[in-house]
């Protein structure tokens, strides 16, 4: 008998090791990976999202749960992707050239993984060419760019321009403290998010269908 409730609660509690052990056990006992994913991990992350919206959970809980979810996915991913070319959407993320700020972008990365994305985090001070290369190599669905400085946020415009020139059809989203929705529209990004939680929502919306 699959104990999905226990898996779900462990993800909600952010108990990484417990999630790993429980998912391993469930798989070992012949549990259906898709079912474990949907009714265990995804169900949990939905609860966590709700609690965050209601102000019961904050960033540390969110990140701990996403990290716990990631542990479970590590086990499920090879099983689910057997035969399939690509089951999970791929997001390439990074902080743009000239900017070395890391934490906001990293939080978004962890949470995107928690939401079921395969995340390629290129780190900080990322040149336009590296973004393009990573997108091609990983057949990515989404590019997330971050900047903390008004002097570096302009570099996002350059990346989006280069993507078009390269003929890459990929959804782009941007974020970071000095950014606004207006700026995102102006530079032709597909989406903007003011914080990590809404970034994940926006990302899921953009890659749907």
């Amino acid at each position: 008998m699959l104990d999905l409730v226990e898996i779900r609660d462990s993800v909600i509690n952010g108990a990484r090791n417990e999630v790993r052990d429980l998912v391993e056990k469930a798989v070992g006992e012949g549990g259906d990976a898709q079912k474990i994913l949907n009714e265990g991990l995804v169900a949990a992350i939905n609860v966590v999202g709700d609690k965050f919206e209601k102000g019961e959970f904050f960033l540390p809980e969110l990140v701990m749960s996403a990290a716990a979810m990631r542990e479970g996915l590590k086990i499920l991913r090879p099983l689910l992707e057997q035969g399939n070319v690509k089951l999970f959407k791929v997001a390439v993320i990074g902080t743009v050239r000239g900017d070395i700020h890391d934490i906001g972008k990293s939080i978004v990365g962890i949470m995107l993984e928690g939401a079921g994305f395969s995340v390629i985090d290129l780190g900080v001070d990322v040149e336009t060419d590296r973004f393009i290369e990573a997108i091609r190599q990983n057949n990515a669905d989404l590019l997330g760019m971050s900047a903390l400085l008004t002097t570096t946020m302009e570099n996002m415009r350059g990346v989006i321009g280069a993507l078009k020139k390269a003929g890459l059809n990929i959804k782009t989203m941007v974020g970071g403290a000095p950014l606004t929705e207006q700026f995102a529209n102006e530079i032709g990004a597909d989406g903007y998010a003011p914080n990590a939680a809404s970034a994940v929502r926006k990302a899921s919306e953009l890659v749907k269908g």
């Binding site: 540390p60 990140v63 701990m64 962890i110 929705e181 003011p194 914080n195």
Partner: protein, 481 residues
């Protein structure tokens, strides 16, 4: 360790104390109360009954300091709100007493305060976490003057489960208040153990004990009700025009009250509650000022470090007439100083216009500021867990701490805003771009619509009503006579 603020050196405090003894022995204290003069005379003070001046010798002061309790218990209708004033921690409360005006919480207009405003004010203080007790702030301008005090007292007891603080104009009013509290708590002995209320009884600066105030204080002392011995000397008008000379008057007045109260009832609970203040030298009125702030440090020094007794100094006080930047500045500074000196009683919540006006929205905002300053003075231990060396080792350079169990266990100790805006511009705008007083007004409406304190049990409340009715008719009759 905790962040703490002190001012005087030990030598300086000793000099102020010695100077106070000189004033008491050679200038004397005027007491317009035969009862107070008699008790001073019976214990060796030289008394001139023509001028009502008593010259208090050193030994009486020293004996009073010896016999007074060093900590004070504040009981509450609900025992979960009991606490001890132990000179280690500031306790926030509303402002008092008989504040004549209120900024109407619906129209925003300043008007005379009425009895229903007091009900609202007390309920809000009952609800808000950082109010440890409730000072009975507002006058009931709709009632005849002689019964306003007793009515406010009963109203407050009925509308909060927390400790309340009030004042009495004379011994008769004091007796009724004691009788009502005795009924609620279940006997005089129990009231002494867990006094449901405390009182602020004032000196008239400089160096004069008012008949009604001091005789009421003596009644309260006998019943074990903590007395906040209070005076409000002002540099240049009711005290010398120096900060230190004003401190000397304040200290001397407190010692005079202490001697009378301890002679009348040895061991009666007292609080050093002098509130010297700065002044507007055009009108003579008290104001919030850097000097007012400094006096709070001086008072806490004399109380805690020189005499080992709990103290009171003003807290969320402001001269501002509305909830503007001046109000925020003055309230914030003053509460922070109060917290840093561990002012055992730290009032002022909801106050505007140097205690002439009141605001329910200000109560909510002051609650937020109090939460901030209390966080500031928490005890922070330096140990293996707080140093978190292991966690730093695990994360390493360039990593982040969000995925650490240690973070999950500890981040909730960090201060979090309840009404202040800490959002991004976008989400602030999305939620209506509200200024803080609008947010506070919404909170006021929410509290009034949802919060009802536990009432006094019906049979006891019946008895309270009986005493209250008796008090009203006697106080009215006395006023007419």
């Amino acid at each position: 360790m905790k962040a703490r603020l002190t001012w005087f050196s030990d030598d300086e405090m000793a000099r102020i104390h010695e100077a106070s003894l000189k004033v008491l022995a050679s200038v004397g204290i005027r007491a317009d109360s035969k009862k107070a003069l008699d008790i001073l005379k019976a214990n060796g003070a030289k008394v001139n009954y023509d001028t009502n001046i008593a010259f208090i010798p050193r030994n009486l002061v020293e004996e009073a300091l010896e016999v007074m309790p060093k900590t004070v218990v504040y009981g509450a209708r609900n025992p979960k709100y009991d606490y001890i004033l132990d000179k280690k921690k500031a306790h926030f409360t509303a402002d008092g007493f008989a504040i004549p005006y209120i900024v109407d919480w619906e129209t925003g207009e300043r008007r005379e305060s009425r009895s229903e405003d007091l009900v609202r004010m007390v309920r809000i203080a009952d609800y808000l976490d950082n109010y440890d007790e409730v000072w009975v702030a507002l006058a009931s301008g709709d009632l005849p003057t002689p019964i306003q005090g007793i009515t406010s007292f009963v109203t407050a007891l009925r509308n909060t489960e927390k400790h309340i603080s009030h004042e009495a104009l004379d011994a008769d009013e004091a007796k009724f208040m004691i009788e009502i509290a005795t009924t609620i708590v279940g006997g005089r002995k129990e009231l002494k153990k867990r006094p449901l209320f405390s009182v602020e009884q004032s000196v008239v600066s400089p160096l004069k004990l008012d008949e009604g105030a001091v005789e009421a204080a003596m009644e309260f002392g006998a019943a074990g009700i903590p007395v906040l011995c209070c005076g409000m000397p002002i540099p240049g008008t009711t005290a010398p025009a120096t900060i230190i000379g004003t401190m000397l008057i304040a200290n001397t007045e407190w010692l005079a009250q202490l001697v009378v109260l301890q002679l009348a009832n040895p061991g009666a609970p007292v609080i050093y509650a002098q509130i010297p203040c700065g002044a507007n030298y055009s009108t003579g009125a008290v104001i919030e000022s850097p000097e007012s702030l400094l006096f709070r440090v001086g008072v806490a020094d004399m109380a805690h470090r020189c005499y080992d007794v709990p103290c009171m100094g003003y807290g969320a006080n402001t001269s501002a007439k509305l909830l503007d930047i001046q109000a925020g500045n003055e309230k914030g500074q003053s509460l922070l100083v109060g917290a840093l000196v561990a002012s055992d009683v730290l009032p002022g919540g909801g106050e505007l216009d140097d205690a002439l006006c009141y605001s329910l929205e200000a109560m909510v905002i002051d609650n937020e500021i109090a939460g901030e300053v209390f966080r500031f003075v928490e005890n922070f231990e330096v140990n293996d867990d707080t140093l978190a060396l292991d966690v730093i080792r695990e994360v390493g350079p360039g990593g982040h701490f969000l995925e650490q169990q240690h973070t999950l266990e500890n981040y909730k100790n960090m201060w979090r805003a309840t009404i202040s805006d800490k959002e991004t511009f976008a989400s602030w705008k999305e939620s209506g771009a509200k200024p803080l007083d609008n947010v506070a007004a919404e909170k006021v409406r929410e509290i009034l619509a949802t919060h009802t304190p536990q009432p006094i049990p019906e049979d006891i409340d019946k008895e309270v009503s009986r005493i209250y009715e008796k008090a009203k008719s006697e106080l009215l009759r006395k006023a007419e006579a």
